[in-house]
């Protein structure tokens, strides 16, 4: 064996880290992998609004079908000032938020424990799987008539409809969170002396939390999607009602106002859950 050149590795010139520094490179990853997209999104949004303004301003589309941005803004001010259909705007927003909020709270309170139980217990899984798998792919509008027949036209049927739509994603997420527990992690806890209860509280629950939060985020999306359907039922309040009612008068600008309000609400809710994720599971994706 001969040594060819022990020093070779050290003789290369070290690139000077001057004002510009060396040209850094990196391995291209698959997908976007954390590259910032905010600017692109902002540009897209402004282009869309610009296009909207352009086609309406130059009369390419009748304002009956697509109102001008200024009209929508004006209508928003009018609705905010004078209310709509005999109720102030805040009542409409409040009614919708109350329904979604109550249904979400109930879905979380029922969905998480039942989902965890389904992930842990054969009987719970066997019993609950059938009804959940049966009802949850159904479009809420299809069982809306039943809700009205069974529960009347009051708040109960609306909140129940929203609850049913939001329960399944949360329950299934909790269940899958339990199932994603690596067997070694459970074994490690057992050899550290964990009782079944401790195993659940200290290992299973925190391990399932990321998926549960994802489930809640999806459920809220589904909830807002179902809201308009829920407020079809003999409502006099609510953003969904506002939209449906405005549509009957071909008040397209008011429809746009309603849509904008829903989208702001839904966006805030999703953002709140994202914030909760950052606080509760900062370790997500790193375990």
């Amino acid at each position: 064996m001969t040594v060819i050149d022990k020093l070779a590795a050290f003789e290369g010139e070290v690139p000077s880290s001057g004002a510009t520094g060396p040209r850094t490179v990196r391995m291209p990853a698959f997908g976007i992998s954390g590259q910032p997209t905010t600017l692109i999104s902002l540009v897209t949004a402004s282009l869309l609004v610009g296009a909207w303004w352009f086609v309406t301003e130059y009369g390419l589309v009748s304002s009956l079908f697509l109102p001008r941005p200024a009209e929508v803004l004006h209508q928003f001010v009018v609705v905010a000032r004078d209310g709509y259909a005999g109720a102030p705007l805040i009542d409409h927003v409040g009614a919708s938020l109350f329904r979604i909020g109550l249904a979400a709270a109930l879905a979380i309170l029922a969905g998480i424990p039942l989902g965890l139980l389904m992930g842990l217990n054969r009987f719970a899984k066997g019993i609950l799987d059938t009804p959940i798998e049966f009802y949850w792919p159904l479009p809420p509008l299809s069982y809306l008539p039943l809700m009205i027949i069974w529960l009347g036209i009051g708040e109960t049927s609306k909140v129940t409809l929203l609850f049913l739509a939001m329960f399944a994603p949360i329950c299934l997420a909790a269940q899958s969170g339990v199932r994603s527990l690596p067997v070694e992690r459970a074994q490690a806890a057992r050899t550290l002396g964990a009782t079944r209860l401790q195993l659940f509280a200290h290992i299973v629950l925190p391990g399932a939390l990321p998926e549960i939060l994802t489930g809640i985020r999806i459920a809220l999306g589904v909830g807002w999607g179902t809201l308009v359907a829920a407020e079809l039922i003999a409502s006099t309040r609510g953003i969904g009602f506002l939209i449906m009612s405005a549509a009957q008068f071909l008040a397209t600008d008011v429809v746009f106002v309603g849509i904008a309000i829903i989208s702001v609400c839904a966006f805030s809710f999703a953002h709140a859950v994202r914030l909760a994720e950052r606080l509760l599971v900062p370790w997500r994706g790193r375990g």
Binding site: P182, E184, R185, Q187, A188, A189, R190, T191, L192, G193, A194, T195, Q198, H202, I203, P206, G207, L209, V281, W283, R286, G287
Partner: protein, 262 residues
């Protein structure tokens, strides 16, 4: 004394019976560092899982200081091949997890964890999170965690298998120090002959189908390592090379693959 008597394990998989462990006998006395060495599929992990209580035996029995083993328990600490730290706990809380299960107060837990982190050379990392550590450091945390509940024996399933060779040597040295200082019994699995020779007071060589011990050795390299000899001195010592080649011959002597029909 950990006593394994006539331990057999049969698995059923894809319609046939796999004979994973065949009437195996092994004693691990106080202060022993027993290394099980063999190719994959020789039953060494099966044996460890049985001692840990993760897997029941088909036949035979395992007792630890007279008590029959029935399920996992804090009297047997396990260091896994895969890193099994809890990502939501910081390093000190991970180390002290077993103490938390035992109901120790937080202050006492943190103090004990500090001491153990010191032992594995991670004094200032108590507040770090697992994902901030390298693979070698995470395995050190795993060792500290297994030691925290003061188990009667430490079971280690190829704990350094995923580490680079430099880190691996550091970890071997560290483990020998820990063993020397705590006097714990250790049952250690590896497929590296050198690692087995360097670490074990006793080395059992296993062969697959069915999993059984085909050779047993006693070695004193680990005692010399514990008393300050370097890994290099040990590897270059007269008896090391021949013994390594002898064991290599045993492992390469491919036994007739015997299929166990169902």
């Amino acid at each position: 004394m950990l006593k394994i008597e006539n331990a057999s394990v049969f698995f059923e998989g894809r319609g046939r019976i796999v004979h994973a462990l065949d009437r195996l006998n092994l004693d691990i006395a106080d202060g022993d560092f027993v290394v099980a060495l063999g190719t994959s599929g020789c039953g060494k992990s099966t044996l460890l899982n049985a001692i840990a209580g993760f897997l029941p035996l088909s036949e035979g029995r395992i007792t630890l200081d007279g008590r029959a083993i029935a399920g996992p328990g804090a009297d047997r600490g396990v260091v896994f091949q895969k890193d099994t730290l809890m990502p939501w706990l910081d390093v000190a809380d991970n180390v002290a997890l077993g103490l938390r299960f035992a109901g120790l107060a937080r202050k006492a837990r943190r103090e004990k964890a500090e001491g153990l982190l010191d032992l594995v050379g991670l004094r200032d990392f108590g507040r770090s999170f697992p994902h901030e550590l390298s693979g070698g450091m995470r395995q050190r945390v795993g060792i500290a965690r297994a030691l925290a509940t003061d188990p009667d024996i430490l079971l280690m399933d190829e704990p350094f298998g995923a580490l680079d060779s430099m880190t691996r040597e550091q970890m071997q040295q560290l483990l020998v120090d820990v063993w020397h200082r705590t006097g714990k019994r250790i049952f250690f699995i590896t497929h590296s002959i050198e690692e087995a020779l360097v670490l074990g007071t006793h080395i059992i060589v296993m062969s697959p189908r069915p999993g059984r011990i085909v050779a047993r050795y006693r070695a004193d390299f680990v005692r010399r390592l514990a008393e300050g000899a370097s890994l290099k001195e040990i590897r270059l010592s007269d008896s090391f090379g021949p013994l390594r080649e002898e064991i290599r011959d045993i492992l390469h002597r491919d036994p007739e693959p015997k299929e166990e029909a169902a």
